[in-house]
């Protein structure tokens, strides 16, 4: 595939520009929230329970990496070696649900990565690729299944 270095440089410049913008936005937000929480008299009426806010914030920060029954709650991914690489490389563009819905062997996942690189602008995964494939092939491998599965009934109910 031929690439245009000028275009690539331009898109890089765009990214830097938007990063700068976002950085300013985040600084403003943080500054704004600090001002709101501590610096502004009279706003207690609007925020009656600022202590509670702090607690909620703390809880949620802890929840971000919470794992229950082997599942990383924030993403729904199986918590295993390599999950950070999945978060960084896969979830930048698409939902984790596109991973958790699918079942493929190592070759199938590799082909999917190649397809995303050829058509969906996925970058070169470098040394991470084999670790990502280890994670996917282990945790999201096909299960043996027949031509039609048994019906799964979530809840039986009376018909009137």
């Amino acid at each position: 595939m031929q690439e245009d270095p000028i275009k690539e440089l331009e898109s890089y410049k765009r990214i830097v520009k938007s990063l700068k913008l976002l950085a300013w936005a985040s600084i403003l937000l943080v500054a704004g929230s600090i001002w709101f929480s501590f610096g502004s008299p009279g706003l207690d009426l609007i925020i009656p329970a600022s202590k509670e806010n702090v607690i909620v914030k703390k809880d949620i920060q802890e929840n971000e990496d919470q794992v229950v029954d082997g599942i990383h709650l924030a993403t729904g991914l199986i918590d295993d070696t390599g999950i950070e690489l999945i978060k960084q490389n896969c979830l930048a563009c698409h939902s984790s649900k596109l991973v958790t819905q699918n079942r493929m062997n190592r070759q199938g996942w590799k082909e999917t990565i190649v397809w995303m690189q050829e058509t969906q602008k996925l970058w070169d995964l470098g040394e991470s690729e084999s670790k990502i494939l280890d994670y996917l092939a282990k945790n999201y491998a096909p299960k043996k299944a027949g031509r039609r599965k048994n019906l799964v009934i979530n809840e039986w109910y009376e018909i009137d």
Binding site: P5, N63, G108, W156
Partner: protein, 425 residues
């Protein structure tokens, strides 16, 4: 190449730091939002238990799918892919709240229907032309049709070996009332050359990568399909604006073909002198092996053929699977059946795993390409566990299969009988 690589690597690193920066930003802006909105409101109502702060802004991003029924199943949230459980498809005309969503990219934002333009171009038009929605409404006659739209990958979840993609079960289908102008009338006004063979569409959605120069999906249909009466450029669904996720403000609608041909957020139609070659027209996308293959077989791209009309299929929409009856209690069963470009001739129901079949009453379609409603009253002779299977037959005599039909690499066209479970106590 050696000069470009570092840039690419840098880009890669930027993306990685972007992700961690984003999650940092979400943490810090969470504090900001908490302070601004008040913690109780935000967290009690907007943040589901298994969501994280990462999801808070996702919640804001979820606002566009408001209006969809709570019991629809979210298969994917970037891009949105949402299916409708069979029992929620019971309405004769699918309401907006129960219409499935299959997005390939990110829908446009800040849409102004008053300034929206539809361009008609391509090598096989006599001269390119542009229309506002107001002009379309004023210049051409308006038509309404109920049209069955089904995703080509509906039923993918049942294929074995598993097929890649969103794992649709039975719910990527709908039949709503669409209102707009005939594509034929607009194309005739623009003027088509004799060498026209295909139309393609472009929409205003953004590629997942965020690259503005990259098309998300750009598919189309051959001229014969494009010129049929029911082929619409639509601005209304069920007499209201089309829901954002279903293509607001303008959408192509081709009933009976993979719904991916019905381009959403439509802003350009091209008339081509060859088969349209836009995004997801080539490779394995919306194609099946030209000749059938064994499950799991590798199929080279050149042996994959474009899906046209969807196959015959049906759903049991009442009762919901898992119903319990008393011995002697009759069951009134109902649903819909459809057959791509064709009609459904008959619908049969089995309560003994296909050993015997009973014929249901089936209505004619309200118009061509609309699904047909069927119903039947059933007796269950003994206590026990039953499966009710529904099997439609099209006007050419072809029926649905009882097991999952021909395996194909991308898991399209699964039209196996719909099944529900019933217990008699």
């Amino acid at each position: 190449m050696s000069e470009k690589k570092p840039l690419k690597k840098l880009f890669h690193e930027r993306i990685n730091s972007e992700v961690s920066r984003r999650s940092f930003l979400k943490k810090s802006s969470l504090a900001g939002l908490t302070a601004l909105v008040g913690s109780k409101i935000v967290f009690a109502n907007s943040l589901p238990k298994n969501y994280t702060p990462l999801a808070l802004l996702e919640e804001a991003a979820a606002f566009p799918i408001k209006g969809k029924h709570d019991d629809l199943v979210i298969l994917n949230d970037r891009p949105w892919n949402i299916e409708t459980p069979a029992h929620l498809l019971d309405d004769k005309v699918t309401p907006a709240s129960k219409m499935f969503v299959r997005n390939n990219g990110l829908p446009p934002e800040n849409i102004d229907p008053n300034s929206w333009k539809l361009k008609i171009g391509g090598e096989s038009v006599k001269a390119a032309k542009e229309f506002s929605i107001k002009e379309l409404k004023a210049k051409f006659k308006t038509y309404s049709y109920q049209l069955t739209l089904e995703c080509g990958g509906n039923g993918r979840a049942e294929f074995n070996p598993p097929a890649k993609g969103n794992q649709w079960t039975t719910g990527a289908v709908s039949c709503a009332k669409w209102t707009g102008v005939r594509l034929r009338d607009v194309l005739n006004d623009v003027g088509i050359k004799d060498d026209a063979v295909y139309i393609g569409y472009y929409g205003a959605d953004t590629h997942l990568s965020g690259d503005p120069g990259k098309n998300t999906i750009s598919r189309g249909v051959p001229m014969a399909k494009a010129l049929e009466d029911e082929a619409l450029i639509a601005w209304a669904m069920n007499d209201e604006d089309i829901p954002l996720q279903n293509g607001f403000p303008l959408r192509l609608v081709f009933g009976g073909w993979p719904a991916s041909t019905s381009g959403k957020w439509l802003n350009e139609i091209v008339v081509r002198n060859k088969v349209h070659d836009g995004a997801k027209m080539n490779g394995t996308a919306y194609r099946v092996p030209c000749e059938t293959v064994a499950p799991g077989e590798k199929v080279p791209d050149e042996k994959m053929c474009i899906i046209e009309s969807m196959p015959v299929k049906s759903l049991i929409t009442y009762p919901k699977s898992g119903g319990i009856l008393k011995l002697g209690q009759k069951l009134s069963l109902r649903g819909h059946a459809w057959a791509g470009d064709l009609n459904v001739k008959s619908l049969e129901v089995s309560i003994d795993f296909g050993a015997s079949w009973k014929t249901a009453k089936i209505e004619s379609p309200v118009n061509r390409l609309a699904w047909q409603h069927w119903n039947i009253e059933l007796d269950f002779p003994e206590r026990g566990y039953y499966e009710v299977w529904a099997k439609a037959t099209n006007s050419n005599g072809k029926s649905q299969s009882m097991i999952v039909p021909g395996w194909n690499p991308k898991g399209y066209l699964n039209n196996a009988c719909h099944r529900i479970a019933i217990k008699v106590n």
